[in-house]
């Protein structure tokens, strides 16, 4: 029997070729989208980590005031720790940005060149991949750092700068302004010695523990190394210490004279007078490093999202197919009844009616998977990663579970959904099938519509009758809007970053000082910043506690003289979901201390995670003297010795870097927007078509009675307008709310404000576009209405 029934399948396919082609296309597109995203995610997770491992990614890094002594390094290496000096000096690049110059690494965080090779001659350098790409640099090109010129010998990446950000607190990669340059040892030493760098050399060491001790044990060991602040030759540091100690420095010198050399009390006094300066300025284990393993971490969430979204999308497609199969079953009711009467089993018929949906889904799954795994799929999706993170060329890899997912999930879901939906139809009594009994289903029968006009009542009855297709239209719209809002929210957030960062930055310059002068520079507004951290979704973020005067011109704040009640920035409130009155706990990882605050107010400030408090209260709280400050805001450039400045942030830099995300995400918005629109249009057209087909007999009857095309449209098609109009009113905000709710998970590792609010006009435009698309689609339904023949009614006779 199956063989005979099977012959119909091809004929069915031929008879409804356009419809099946559209469904095939939808599934291909869905599979392509899911497989390519999933494939790219898996490649980034597995391959980026594998490359990092091959390149001896560090277990952590620490920064010291002074280079460790050879004996201290030996002590660590003798204990089994591998240590690599990853010292760096920053120089101005030709475009006004910064190039961080380092030596070629030998044991840890090795450079992987995608092109070219390590520098061999003195004037050669490997340039970091993202910087090279953004600036259109190739092997053999010249690049300048300060007055030093190099020929690019290679383009590569290092695992400790996967997110090539200049400072750990930077929230956005901006390869336009920052890159790395790896040079020969000789050239590095010459550059450092020139004293022309933007800042003093940073003494950064990368380490690998090799299983011999923990991060904490290593940290304690380093902290135990003897350190005399007087060994630091940096003149700015020396000046700073003198200013802080004042006459105490002279007393200390006196106590160190031979006269007091045997005096125990003098030694105690010296200890008391020594400034609190430690050798270790920073200690960051790998899992807390905002530059390492960020590409994989960024896409990790995609994996579960893709698998879940794929199932929903395929279920929608399967249901669309099921609606057509049901229509076919209803059309063939007498045939099915006759076949039952002749002894054909329900199982045979079930197999027959699910064969084509499963076959089409399977073939579309194959096509979608092949496309998804191709350079046009996975390769295209990887561009997002390559466009932001500094990772080596990861290649294209095929993973068994993605292959199985792409090949099996579409037909499997199609089989399940179709079996579930069709079963009831095939279980009708044989006589009912033979007589093609059309029932107004029970639920819809008793609706009293007496008070409405005839046309309205007719439309409502029609809507109730076609509820299945109507709900599929709305469900399709909902899923498309979910997809669309993933992209739209991303764009909205980036756009907010772009505009709000600049709007909320009222200062022209923000100087973070290593060694603040005693007097606040003229024209500057003093502030005191302490960097603490807060965890969210397993990621650690820097939060700046900023002590300012309430009347400062750069922040609009109402501060209390309280250690507990603080004002938090809007960025922080959005990112961590903090409301007024909530407790905010921050951690000082260095000192292993927790600080609890109460958010008494939220102020509009998007450029960073900030807690604002009164500067005097804060000085007292953190044990600093009454005049201490380490940050200066100003409305013009200030004359502060470069050696005292840790970093200087200008409003211009904020403006430039805040636009990076928007430009990067635009293509994703177009792709997602395009895909969701296509899915919406195809699903809606197919469903509206099936509504017309389901009513074709009645439409033929109406034609016989003398109804015009316009009147038939009004009765059978235009009623759907209300479904789409009301459905959109419901699902548009619902989809936005759901995606907004999920967004913190999607960007759980991104350190920036998360303002997802859109102007009301955008909702109106989206609503208008949906209604516009609906009207265009219904226009094409006219042809379908014209094709309905009166013959079917006339032939319904003995």
């Amino acid at each position: 029997m199956q063989n005979i029934l099977g012959k119909r399948v091809l004929r069915d396919l031929k008879a409804h070729f356009l419809r099946w082609s559209a469904l095939f296309g939808l599934i291909v597109m869905g599979t392509y989208m899911i497989v390519s995203l999933l494939g790219a995610t898996e490649i980034v997770i597995r391959e980026a980590r594998a490359h990092a491992k091959d390149n001896q990614v560090e277990d952590g890094q620490f920064t010291t005031f002074l280079p460790l002594k050879a004996s201290e390094v030996a002590e660590l290496t003798d204990a089994g720790i591998t240590i690599e000096r990853t010292f760096h000096v920053d120089f101005s690049a030709e475009n006004g940005g910064t190039l961080r110059v380092m030596k070629v690494r030998r044991e840890i965080d090795l450079i992987e060149c995608d092109e070219g090779a390590y520098p061999e001659a003195d004037g050669e350098a490997v340039i970091e991949k993202r910087y090279a790409e953004v600036h259109g640099l190739h092997v053999g090109d010249a690049v300048r750092a300060g007055r030093w010129e190099f020929v690019i010998s290679g383009i590569g990446t290092v695992p400790d700068y996967e997110s090539p950000i200049a400072k750990m607190s930077d929230s956005i990669v901006d390869s336009q302004s920052f890159g790395l340059l790896f040079v020969t040892d000789e050239r590095y030493d010459a550059m450092r010695a020139s004293g022309e760098s933007l800042e003093a050399e940073s003494c950064v060491y990368a380490y690998r523990l090799n299983g011999v001790m923990t991060d904490r044990e290593l940290k304690e060991k380093i902290e135990g190394f003897p350190f005399d602040y007087r060994d630091v030759s940096d003149p700015d540091f020396r000046a700073y210490i003198s200013e802080r100690m004042g006459p105490a420095e002279d007393i200390r010198d006196l106590l160190e004279s031979p006269f007091f050399s045997q005096d125990e009390e003098a030694r105690d006094l010296i200890k008391m007078l020594d400034p609190d300066v430690r050798i270790l300025t920073q200690f960051i284990p790998e899992n807390e490093n905002m530059r390492i393993d960020t590409a994989a971490a960024d896409v990790e969430i995609n994996k579960s999202t893709c698998i879940f979204a794929g199932i929903i999308v395929f279920a929608l497609f399967a249901y669309v197919i099921a609606v057509f199969v049901i229509h076919e079953i209803e059309e063939e009711s007498e045939v099915i009844g006759a076949l039952y009467a002749l002894g054909v089993t329900g199982r045979d018929l079930m197999r027959h009616y699910t064969l084509l949906p499963v076959l089409v889904s399977f073939l579309a799954g194959i096509a979608g998977t092949i496309l998804g795994m191709s350079p046009a799929g996975v390769g295209y999706q990887l561009m997002d990663t390559y466009g932001y993170y500094s990772v080596p060329d990861l290649g294209i890899h095929v993973y068994a579970y993605i292959l199985i997912y792409g090949l099996l999930v579409p037909p499997l879901i199609s089989a399940i959904v179709n079996r579930f939906v069709i079963r009831k139809r095939l279980k009708k009594p044989v006589l009912e099938l033979l007589r093609k009994v059309k029932k107004a289903t029970g639920k819809h029968r008793q609706v009293d519509l007496g008070r409405f006009s005839f046309v309205t009542r007719f439309r409502i009855r029609q809507m109730l009758r076609e509820m299945r297709s109507a709900l599929t239209v709305v469900a399709g719209l909902f899923i498309c809007l979910l997809l669309l809002f993933i992209a739209v929210d991303c764009y909205v957030m980036c756009n907010h970053v772009k505009s709000d960062y600049v709007r909320d930055t009222h200062y022209e310059y923000m100087y973070t000082l290593k060694y603040p002068e005693k007097e606040v520079p003229e024209g500057g507004e003093e502030a005191f910043a302490v960097s603490l951290s807060k965890e969210s979704f397993g990621y650690t973020f820097d939060v700046t506690v900023l002590g300012v005067h309430e009347d400062n011109p750069y922040f609009d704040l109402t501060l209390k003289k309280s250690r507990k009640d603080v004002v938090i920035s809007s960025a922080m409130a959005q990112k961590f979901g903090i409301g007024i009155g909530d407790e905010v706990v921050l951690e000082d990882r260095e000192d292993e201390q927790l600080y609890a605050f109460n958010a008494s107010e939220i102020t509009q400030y998007s450029p960073g995670f900030f807690i604002f408090m009164d500067i005097d209260v804060m000085r007292e709280m953190f044990g600093e003297d009454e005049e201490y400050y380490n940050v200066v805001f100003s409305d013009k450039a200030l004359d502060i010795p470069a050696g005292r400045v840790f970093s200087a942030l200008s409003r211009e830099t904020v403006k430039r870097s805040s636009g990076v995300f928007t430009a990067m995400m635009l293509s994703m918005v177009y792709v997602m927007g395009g895909l969701s629109t296509i899915i919406f249009v195809v699903v809606m057209y197919l469903m509206l078509s099936v509504m017309v087909e389901n009513s074709s007999y009645d439409i033929a009857l109406m034609k016989i009675f003398g109804y015009t095309r316009g009147e038939i449209r009004k009765l059978y098609v235009n009623g759907n307008f209300y479904i789409v109009a009301v459905g959109t009113l419901i699902v548009l905000p619902l989809a936005k709310v759901i995606i907004d709710g999920l967004y913190p998970y999607f960007i759980s590792n991104v350190s920036c404000a998360m303002d997802l609010s859109m102007p009301f006009a955008v909702y109106l435009v989206m609503y208008g576009v949906i209604i516009g698309l609906y009207l265009v689609i219904t226009f094409f339904l006219n042809r379908k209405l014209d094709r309905v023949s009166m013959e079917q009614v006339l032939k319904n006779r003995e």
């Binding site: 005839f454 034609k703 015009t708 009614v793 006339l794 319904n796």
Partner: protein
């Protein structure tokens, strides 16, 4: 003459061949008369009815209804012709399944500028009690009454009935025929009834018999038998 047909021809393509179904039919029916069109299967009676109803286009000839020529009208004008002049009653009722009895009748009332009163119509056809029922909740006879009400509510000039009792048992068939008789008397509606049922010919004013695409008999009953007295329905 209210309905006048002259030399009506209609052919269908069957493969590469053209088959002539109506071979030059001419007939006329006076206003307010009930006329039966009889004939065996394949004789062309339904095609004849469909041409009169503007559902099928004749190849040549002429059909005039109340002075209006039907042959040669465009699809849009044919639609208007049906809307303004005709009522249809089918063998299998063709009620819209998801509309109530009242709403099914309203489908045609909506088309008429001067419709009859629905409640009165339902009352006289004995279906007022079922006005809020759906077709699937009615018997065959009740459904056909509903179909008749639907056809009559717009007060058509010509009522075309295609095997109106074909799906009904004899008792119900008789009641439907009595109803048509009553409608004809009460509203003066001109009716064309296509049927296999020989008994019906006795109750109508005029009988047209078609065989092989030609009118073989066309006569008026001198004495009509009321539907209630018909035998072997």
């Amino acid at each position: 003459m209210y309905l006048e047909i002259k030399d009506l021809k209609k052919s269908y393509k069957s493969g590469e061949e053209s088959v002539l179904i109506l071979k030059g039919l001419s007939a006329s029916v006076d206003k307010g008369k009930m006329c039966v069109i009889e004939g065996p299967s394949g004789s062309g009676k339904s095609t004849f009815l469909n041409c009169i109803g503007g559902l099928d286009a004749a190849d040549s000839g002429s059909i005039t209804v109340d002075g209006q020529e039907v042959v040669g009208l465009s699809a849009a004008k044919l639609s208007l012709y049906r809307r303004e002049n005709l009522g249809f009653i089918f063998q299998f009722y063709n009620l819209v399944p998801n509309l109530t009895v009242r709403e099914n009748i309203e489908v045609c009332r909506y088309l008429s500028p001067n419709p009859l009163d629905i409640d009165e119509m339902m009352e006289s056809l004995g279906i007022l009690a079922y006005k809020n029922k759906f077709p699937s909740q009615l018997s065959g006879g009740q459904q056909q009454r509903c179909a008749i009400a639907r056809a009559l509510v717009k007060n058509p000039k010509l009522l075309l009935c295609d095997e109106p009792t074909g799906a009904l048992d004899s008792v119900t068939s008789r009641s439907i025929l009595m109803l048509l008789e009553e409608v004809n008397r009460k509203y003066g509606t001109t009716m064309l009834i296509v049927t296999h049922n020989n008994a019906i010919r006795q109750m109508v004013h005029q009988v047209i018999e078609i065989r092989d695409g030609r009118i073989t008999k066309n006569y008026e009953n001198e004495v009509r038998k009321p539907a209630s007295e018909l035998e072997d329905i």
